[in-house]
């Protein structure tokens, strides 16, 4: 096993004490242990299991960071789980998704999203998909290099959501306020309907999600394609919505000034 793989086993041990105890005890029912060399197994087994647990807030801290990015999804889980929601979320750190994600150098937000969405609930799945998209867009960094194409700016995205999801999100966020974890005990899910068969289009900019009209959605979707779009392609999209080439050029200019396009 490379030192990178071994380091990831240690990360898993720091976040999952049962796993750490199993590793140190030399139990063979762990995936990672099968790949450890004798020397590596010996190093781990010589470690004091208590050393992996000294930071008693490690998982709570990480979970808080995840809840901050998935407030509505977690609120949905809390409303489905009742009073056991807190322990239920901590179970993430002993899940296969967490361990496999760490071992494969995956993004934690993606592992967490996949784990949340394992529950059989369409509304939850839609919320997770939206909040994951926002989280991933927030991680985009502007890339270097000149280009002639028109592209979405870093952190900007366009999405198609089930009907009513956006108003549900706004309602849940308003209920949760800034102290999401504090609001989750006894949380009551709002009576908004989500219409899975319908679609509403939204624009995501700097973490904010706002409704978007059809013509602009088509235009921005075109810019969101890999490599962006040429002005001619955008003019063709505009023509489908009865916009002139001048209209399209003007819109593109304005969106660039607003930081939506680059």
């Amino acid at each position: 096993m490379s030192h990178h793989q071994l380091q990831r086993v240690i990360v898993r041990m720091l976040h999952d004490q049962a796993f750490a105890r199993a590793m140190i005890a030399g139990r063979s029912d762990t995936v990672a242990q099968a790949a450890l060399s004798d020397a590596e197994r010996g190093w781990l087994q010589a470690a004091d299991p208590r050393a992996f647990a000294v930071d008693t807030y490690r998982t709570s801290r990480l979970l808080k960071a995840l809840i901050d990015e998935f407030p509505c999804s977690v609120a949905r889980v809390a409303s489905l789980s009742g009073s056991s929601w807190r322990q239920g979320l901590h179970d993430f750190f002993s899940s296969t998704g967490f361990h496999v994600g760490i071992q494969r150098r995956g993004r934690l937000v993606e592992s967490f999203a996949a784990w949340l969405a394992e529950r059989d609930d369409q509304v939850l799945s839609a919320l997770v998909a939206l909040e994951l998209s926002v989280a991933l867009l927030a991680r985009q960094r502007s890339s270097a290099g000149p280009g002639t194409s028109v592209k979405l700016a870093a952190g900007v995205g366009v999405l198609a959501l089930p009907g009513g999801l956006l108003s549900l999100v706004h309602a849940v966020r308003a209920q949760l306020g800034d102290d999401v974890i504090g609001a989750l005990d006894g949380y009551r899910w709002p009576p908004h309907q989500v219409r899975m068969a319908e679609q509403e289009r939204v624009l995501v900019v700097a973490g904010a999600v706002e409704p978007l009209g059809g013509p602009l959605f088509d235009l921005l979707s075109c810019c969101g394609a890999p490599g962006g779009a040429t002005l001619q392609q955008l003019i063709e999209v505009g023509a489908r919505h009865e916009a002139t080439a001048e209209d399209v050029a003007e819109i593109v200019d304005e969106l660039r000034q607003d930081g939506v396009l680059r």
């Binding site: 490379s2 030192h3 990178h4 071994l6 380091q7 990831r8 240690i10 990360v11 720091l14 020397a39 590596e40 190093w43 781990l44 470690a47 004091d48 208590r50 050393a51 992996f52 647990a53 000294v54 008693t56 490690r58 990480l62 960071a65 995840l66 901050d68 990015e69 994600g101 760490i102 150098r105 995956g106 993004r107 934690l108 937000v109 991680r139 960094r141 890339s143 270097a144």
Partner: protein
């Protein structure tokens, strides 16, 4: 066995040079040749994004009221956060800095991608640091992510040291600045090398200098039941360019005794012992940081006085 030359002149006695050339590395020279050109920064403090707003040290105020305490600022940088108002004010005043990275796993090639390197170069243009430095460990798991900061020591093996050295060379080549690895803190150290053997190997393979964190080393030695100075006589202290000193807190978890590297001003006797030894033998020492950014200025006085006592070899302190 490395012979340690006796120190004739305290290398920190000279006031820091402001306006030095930086950002250029002469690849034909070995580190021990290059180190001569690095500026002597003297004593400084460290800061991180938002440290003062969180109730920590006002570095500009301290630099005005006690200039001997803050001759340079070590700026902790997470590229995703950038530089805060305090760091920018320091730069605007034309004061010396070092760049302490908080977001790179040096031993992971994927972590030193072109976008991150480009942004590091941009921060360097703003900071004009004397060098780059930082804990050579695991700052994050998975791809770089703002919410996943942890800090784990590296796996202490030759393979890991080799990869670390490759990362150091790559960062040095990309930025044109010396990159000084720092020994990280930790409660779990895994591998077949000691911490000092590992970093001696890294420095040799990367042909670089070292930031020796005395408090982190004291934590490691304590954890392994070693005396504070054990192994230091075999460490290439001539590569040590910078020292860190910080206080810690003894804690216990389920009967397991450990030291929390929480940067209080209560510096342990073990940390001071390492510091005193290193100052005597680190012939290329250029900078000392008292990591007290989470404290108020009044609480730091005793620590700075103790630093000065050791640094004032033969009665002179930064004269």
């Amino acid at each position: 066995m490395i012979e340690i030359a006796p120190v004739v002149v305290n290398p920190l006695r000279v006031r820091p040079v402001v306006g030095y050339q930086s950002g250029v590395i002469d690849r034909r020279q070995s580190f021990l040749e290059r180190v001569v050109a690095l500026p002597r920064l003297g004593v400084g403090v460290s800061t991180e994004y938002g440290a003062q707003l969180a109730g920590g040290l006002d570095v500009m105020d301290l630099a005005e009221s006690a200039p001997d305490h803050v001759q340079f600022l070590e700026v902790g940088v997470e590229i995703a956060k950038g530089l805060d108002a305090d760091a920018l004010a320091w730069i605007d005043a034309g004061r010396p800095t070092t760049y302490h990275f908080l977001d790179v796993n040096l031993d992971e090639p994927d972590d030193l991608g072109p976008d991150w390197l480009r942004e590091v170069a941009e921060v360097c243009r703003q900071l004009k640091p004397a060098w780059l430095c930082g804990d050579a460990g695991m700052w994050h798991f998975g791809p770089r992510d703002r919410n996943h900061m942890l800090l784990l020591p590296p796996i202490l093996t030759r393979e890991s040291a080799t990869d670390m050295a490759v990362g150091i060379r790559r960062l040095r080549d990309a930025t044109g600045y010396e990159v000084l690895p720092e020994n990280p803190p930790g409660q779990v150290f895994i591998g077949d090398m000691t911490l000092l053997e590992f970093f001696a190997e890294v420095c040799e393979r990367a042909d670089t200098g070292m930031l020796l964190d005395c408090a982190h080393l004291a934590i490691y030695q304590h954890l392994h039941g070693r005396s504070p100075l054990e192994g230091l006589d075999r460490f290439p202290l001539e590569r040590v360019v910078e020292l860190h000193v910080a206080g810690g807190t003894h804690r216990e978890h389920d009967g397991f005794a450990w030291i929390d590297d929480d940067h209080t001003t209560a510096v342990s006797a073990e940390t001071w012992a390492i510091f005193d030894f290193a100052v005597k033998h680190a012939t290329n020492l250029k900078a000392v940081v008292f990591e007290c950014e989470r404290n108020q200025a009044a609480a730091t006085e005793a620590g700075f006085a103790r630093l000065a006592e050791t640094l004032a070899v033969d009665g002179h302190m930064h004269s």
